[in-house]
């Protein structure tokens, strides 16, 4: 499939299934079953798995349009995570469980227990939990689950955790890369929504988008959206580079804070209401910033990598380690 065909297909898929009503129903504690069934039928679930393993053999770059589309619609389910997990599980020669698979951001052994922070875990049936140099595939049914209350992540604990090992799979980095891409998509939708509002809403006898002060804010927003998109492109092109993932999570996270602030500023008070869909996007972005390590986490890791490297210049580091 070509890039534009994937984009069109993904946009149609999300528009059909990930409606604002569906997103609100999930937030109210509704079942994801119907929405998930629609997404699962799309055929994207095994897109990253190799053809030998029954997948489509697409790359992360090929699949970026799907994640961006999911973000544009504020999809709260771990769709990208399930796709990445299924590919990793298939590559390890294991069988993936049916249904939603979440990626845990952390896994901690405490005596006989394995304790994990699992973004979007409340909807999942399976979880890939970091464990040593890889991940372990566990069932949510055998875990005790506490939701954090803010929608960011669940705390899950398994007693005597046992499951297939997926060697070499970095759940935190994969989760960060997917989260950054979906946030970049959500930011694009915010820009479009805000632009439309600036053209529609009149004050002092003209559209607010005609005021230079508003125009300058929307221009900055556009710049940040483009910068975020560029960052997730770089990360998708080099999924094996932890530094590229780090760069994307930092850039997107920092841009997100400004983009959300500008969107709400331009919308004025109406943007604060529940009935307007804008907050579905702000909410998606809020969760994204808190998941799989914040900007500070990834900037520190990236900074350590720069300072430990032998590269002569920062540009050399970025060229060789981030673009690769």
């Amino acid at each position: 499939m070509t890039d534009s065909l994937i984009t069109e297909t993904a946009d149609r898929l999300m528009a059909d299934h990930v409606t604002p009503a569906a997103v609100r129903a999930l937030a109210a504690g509704g079942s994801p079953a119907a929405l998930w069934a629609g997404l699962a039928e799309s055929g994207f679930l095994d897109a990253l798995a190799s053809e030998e393993a029954g997948g489509a053999g697409l790359t992360e770059m090929d699949m970026l349009p799907v994640l961006l589309a999911a973000g544009r619609h504020g999809l709260p389910l771990p769709f990208g995570a399930t796709i990445a997990a299924r590919a990793a599980i298939a590559a390890a020669g294991e069988t993936a469980p049916e249904g939603i698979i979440a990626l845990a951001a952390s896994g901690r052994r405490d005596g006989g227990n394995l304790i994990a922070q699992v973004p979007a875990g409340e909807h999942a049936e399976g979880v890939l939990v970091p464990d040593g140099d890889g991940a372990i595939l566990l069932s949510v049914a055998s875990a005790t689950v506490e939701t954090a209350g803010d929608g960011t992540a669940c705390r899950m604990a398994w007693n005597g955790a046992n499951g297939p090992r997926i060697a070499g799979f970095d759940a935190l980095a994969t989760g960060a890369r997917i989260e950054a891409a979906e946030m970049a998509g959500a930011m694009e939708a915010m820009q479009v929504t805000t632009l439309r509002y600036a053209n529609d809403r009149s004050q002092f006898g003209r559209a607010i988008g005609k005021f230079q002060a508003v125009q300058q804010q929307l221009s900055v927003m556009t710049e940040l959206v483009h910068g975020a998109r560029a960052a997730v492109h770089v990360a998708a092109a080099a999924p094996g580079s932890l530094d590229a993932t780090a760069a994307a999570k930092v850039t997107v996270g920092e841009a997100a804070a400004q983009v959300v602030a500008i969107a709400h500023a331009v919308h004025g008070a109406i943007g604060m209401t529940e009935e307007l869909d804008l907050h579905l996007l702000s909410e998606r972005i809020r969760r994204g910033r808190l998941r799989y390590g914040s900007e500070r986490h990834w900037a520190e890791r990236l900074g350590q990598a720069v300072l430990a490297s032998q590269e002569a210049t920062l540009l050399d580091f970025v060229r060789n380690r981030v673009f690769s």
Binding site: L195, A231, E300, G303, A305, T313
Partner: protein, 386 residues
């Protein structure tokens, strides 16, 4: 979908990337012993001999066709060389504008005779161009130019007026100027044309303007009844506004809108690496600098690909420049705060002099090539608000 779509992701073709090692080796030798505070000047530091040494290697006029002495390598070859020159802080100002703008402009809009005359000399590093856009009191209002080139009965032009903030006019042989060939300033974009002006003549006065670091790369250039032949006109008479805007996409898209503070960054990194213990704040800042450099570079590569495809990505170039200069300006502020966080610290003099220079000059980063507010106005037009 976005009403103003991001450009596709682009990468450097392997044959262009392969230039890099040779450029690095050349620079390691050419810049050995040059202190960081001098390298920090880079594309405002003119050294014609250095520019000619680059020309000898075939590294000027890379995007120009072979029949005019160019390398026919396209924009990505130039991108690779530009990145390395700027990251190293090479003194590139003598040829920079010529190579980036004047050559491609003459190729695109020039008559065949103009191409044959100027382009081989550009590629050989024999002649250097400056650009005459700004005028006293015109500031960011480029359409208000008053310098006039009046047609004489014999087809020649009589030029009178004044240009200012002209980078490196003193070392240049020619200026490509935006002038009024008909109408009055109130006509704005109409009646403007671009002309090539030989600078070394009596009717032209070049007055250097010193900047706050004591350097004189800016100049004010006065034309007092300068007679230009008919073939001084480049492109179409009256199409100057459109041509200048296409030219500005070259000016706004390159790595120089990202890398102006890089010598400072690398000097600071070397200092950090020499310390026995690092603060978490410093490590985080290093990571942020690397992260933002990556996305800016990706944007710059995308704009380069668009230029290479013959497009004129004016709005994307404006967007990149504003983001890029914001990054360039953030660096000296953040590095200064980091260095001075420890009152007992003992940073080397070279680092402090480089910081002082970069900090002092950083307000200009968002002025040269179009101010922030003008660029944001262009983006607003690009997204349909104006």
């Amino acid at each position: 979908m976005s009403s103003f779509a991001p450009l596709p992701y682009a990468t450097i073709p392997a044959e262009d990337e392969s230039l890099r090692a040779e450029v690095k080796a050349f620079l390691a030798e050419a810049l050995a012993g040059m202190p960081a505070e001098k390298r920090a000047r880079s594309w405002v530091g003119a050294d014609p001999a250095f520019s000619r040494a680059l020309a000898k290697r075939g590294w000027l006029g890379l995007s120009l066709p072979k029949r005019y002495g160019g390398a026919e390598r396209g924009f990505f070859a130039r991108f690779v060389i530009a990145e390395e020159l700027l990251a190293a802080g090479a003194p590139v100002a003598a040829h920079w504008i010529t190579d980036r703008q004047s050559g491609p402009l003459i190729l695109r809009y020039g008559a065949e005779a103009q191409r044959q005359f100027y382009l081989p000399k550009i590629c050989a590093g024999e002649i250097f161009f400056c650009i005459g856009m700004s005028e006293p009191n015109s500031g960011s209002d480029l359409a208000s130019v008053r310098t006039r080139a009046e047609r004489q009965p014999d087809g020649s032009f009589r030029l009178n007026g004044r240009k200012i903030w002209t980078s490196n006019a003193a070392v240049c042989d020619y200026m490509i100027a935006l002038v009024r060939t008909s109408g009055v300033p109130e006509d704005r974009h109409k009646g403007l044309s671009q002309v090539i002006i030989p600078l070394k003549q009596e009717a032209i006065t070049i007055r250097p303007i010193r900047d706050l670091a004591g350097d004189a790369h800016f100049a004010e250039v006065t034309f007092d009844d300068v007679i230009l032949p008919a073939d001084a006109l480049i492109g179409e008479e009256g199409a100057g506004w459109e041509q200048v805007n296409a030219e500005l996409a070259f000016e706004r898209s390159g790595p120089e809108r990202i890398l102006s503070s890089m010598v400072l960054v690398d000097t600071w990194l070397a200092y950090l690496k020499s310390l026995p213990k690092l603060s978490t704040d410093d490590v985080i800042l290093v990571g942020r600098l690397a992260a933002h450099l990556a996305s800016l570079r990706a944007l710059s590569l995308s704009v380069t690909a668009s230029l290479a495809a013959g497009e004129s990505p004016v709005v994307h170039a404006a967007l990149l420049k504003d983001l890029g200069t914001t990054y360039e300006q953030m660096i000296p502020q953040a590095v200064a705060a980091a260095i001075a966080a420890d009152p007992e610290g003992d940073p080397p003099g070279e680092l402090m002099r480089t910081l002082a220079y970069t900090m002092g000059m950083s307000p200009s980063f968002s002025l040269r090539g179009g101010t922030r507010e003008i660029l944001r106005g262009m983006i607003a037009r690009g997204i349909g608000l104006r």
